[in-house]
Amino acid sequence: MAKKIKAKKQAAKAPAAKNKKPAANNKKPAAKAKIAAARKKPAVKTTASRKSTPKKTRKRSGPSDQTLKELHLKMVRIRCFEEAGGQMMEDGKIPGALHLYVGEEAIAAGVMQHLSNEDQITSTHRGHGHLVAKGGEFKPMFAELLGRSTGYCGGKGGSMHISNLELGMLGANGIVGGGPPIAMGAAFSNKFRKTKNVTISFFGDGASNEGSVHEAANMAALYKLPCIFVCENNGYGEYTSQANHQAIVDVADRAAGYGMPGVIVDGMDVMAVYEAAGEAIERARNGGGPTLLECKTYRYYDHVGMRGMGMSYRTDEEVEAWRKRDAIAGFEQRLIELGVMNRKQVDSIYTRINNEIEEAIAYAFDSPHPEPHELLENVYCEKGA
């Protein structure tokens, strides 16, 4: 999307694609206690004056080791993908604009952990993370970012439209607020076809002010559809802070106005997201209707591309405060404490994934561009009931 190159020098150099650790780990590692404290008292306020009844802030409980590992893996896969992709963009190798999900990984991981390929999601312009967590493979993803014919969309979609319907990923979307009505329609379909599947609609704090989100939420609540509206509240829509785009602190305050539960969760805590999402998804699968799940999060980099620091619309201190609460670093610490993994195992995951990414990037670059005849293909499909 809209890319704005500012004149100011970049204050903090963005980590290169080959980093074995998430960005937050490049800082002096914060003490265990400090991380825990930050998590207990997140920088985001999870209580607001006008909060209505069904909203709750969630705490951790205990899923299996396997689940914990999968959650971690999802987050790491996203982080590594985004760092690599972002670097490629900075290097001028990716056409168009790239909106990076770095910092928000816990949301995609925590939600998607509950889904199968038959469950659908709609995504946003910031959609790579959602697709990775939904099972997207690196090769066709990088190929798509490069516009190659081996990409998920044959090179016709690019970052903003990356999608795969077999995986239940109904598309990233270049239109802010474009996803929720489609998700609602997919949820309607799930109910109509009497499946037990759910649809998740991811959208931003900025998107919450689009009329489409309002209409979709109302209709989902009316029909009690298995649709979960996940607001990824990272505090900004492009360069405009939440305080400058809405007079509320919690988007979840809107849930009551549709007759659905509103839940606020710390989006930097993958377990909290996992649990809150699980509850909402279970309710939806059982006919209990939609939920508005607001996850307080932060994007480490700029709206587009990889600059993170020295921005005029937010302070470096703010960025640093959020980075200290990094979802992946914190979760790794916890996994090690719990004995689920050790540091070596964690490190080896980064090695493996970065190797996979390296391979995928090579594959993408080796892939052919679409042929001219493809230009006019797939505008329509052949008829047939």
Binding site: P181, A186, F192, E215, N218, M219, V379, K383
Partner: protein, 333 residues
């Protein structure tokens, strides 16, 4: 599927033909449903869904909130995931409320996804003036839709086509807009029982002639037929083509006719400037330039919103007299 034979002399009005078309779809396709404002309990504000709720039950026919963006999203999301929805936008005037869902999602999804999505959704809506419903309930906006790669747009002018094109639209695996005309709702004609298709993308020759081809859209077909009668008296033998489908447009049939008649006039109820008539005119002279004995004429609404005043609206909407006057003027008859 080809057009079924007309069976017997059973005449029903356009409005009833729409309902029969939708009903056949609901009978035929288990994964189809109807959703829109007041389509269920009230059977549609024009009665064109009357009784469907009773016959098919609330799992197949849904009243929606007044939320056109959500209605269109319902069509997109449900069709992408195994349903064949029929969604209703009460008046085409209201598509401004959901043009993003139409233009940026519905029309482009398949293409953007490299063919990975299929959207078998039908959108039913009503257009046109003549009922003193003023500027926001009388428009013809098919040109907006026809400019959008990824959707199809048909404008049935009569009861037979109304039913047959509804069925064809619903059987099509692409998003198809079926744009009905509300001033034609009471017009009766012979309509077969059962399911049949009127193919999308094929124009119909309503009257053969040798001196002038009139290409008309929707209700203007009837005005063109009346104009043809009047022009006969002036010695002009007029061929009338019902475009029926504006996207895809049946250029072939039109060009063939004009190569015979050497003169062309396009008539639609939409505002002339920027209407689909410009496209048709351009195509005609691109493909039949050397055959033309006169400029391709256009008749459309003048460049203003639809006025409420019945006397002004009467002047506003093109009719047989406007068409005849245009022909006389251009051909200096």
């Amino acid at each position: 599927m080809s057009e079924a034979k007309k069976q017997e002399a059973r005449k029903i009005p356009y409005v009833a033909a729409i309902k029969e078309g939708v009903r056949e779809v609901l009978l035929e396709q288990d994964n189809s449903f109807v959703a829109g404002e007041d389509v269920a309990g009230a059977g549609g504000v024009f009665g064109h869904y009357g009784g469907l709720l009773q016959e098919f039950g609330p799992d197949r026919v849904y009243d929606t909130p007044i939320s056109e963006k959500a209605i269109m999203g319902l069509g997109v999301g449900a069709s992408a995931t195994g349903c064949r929805p029929i969604v209703d936008i009460m008046f085409i005037d209201f598509i401004g409320e959901c043009m993003d869902e139409i233009a940026n999602q519905m029309a482009k999804m398949r293409y953007m996804f490299g063919g990975n999505a299929t959207l078998p959704v039908t959108i039913i809506t009503m257009s046109g003036g003549g009922l003193s419903m003023a500027a926001q309930h009388s428009q013809c906006l098919e040109a907006w839709l026809a400019h959008l790669p990824g959707v199809k747009v048909v404008c049935p002018s009569n009861a037979y086509d109304a039913k047959g094109m509804t069925i064809a639209a619903a059987r099509d695996d692409n998003p198809v807009f079926v744009v009905f005309n509300k001033a034609s709702l009471g017009m009766s004609m012979e309509v077969p029982e059962g399911a049949y298709e009127v193919p999308i993308g094929k124009a119909a020759i309503c009257r053969e002639g040798s001196d002038l081809t009139i290409v008309a859209i929707s209700r203007m077909v009837h005005e063109a037929m009346a104009a043809a009668d009047q022009l006969k008296d002036l010695g002009l033998d007029v061929e009338v083509i019902d475009a029926r489908s504006v996207q895809p447009f049946d250029t072939e049939t039109v060009i063939k006719s004009i190569k015979k008649t050497h003169r062309a006039l396009i008539v639609h109820e939409a505002v002339k400037f920027g209407g689909i008539g410009g496209e048709i005119s351009a195509q005609i002279q691109e493909q039949a330039f050397d055959y033309l004995d006169a400029p391709v004429m256009r008749v459309g609404a003048p460049f203003c919103p639809v006025p409420f005043s019945p006397v002004l609206e009467e002047i506003y909407i093109p009719n047989a007299d406007t068409i005849v006057a245009k022909v006389k003027d251009t051909l200096e008859l």
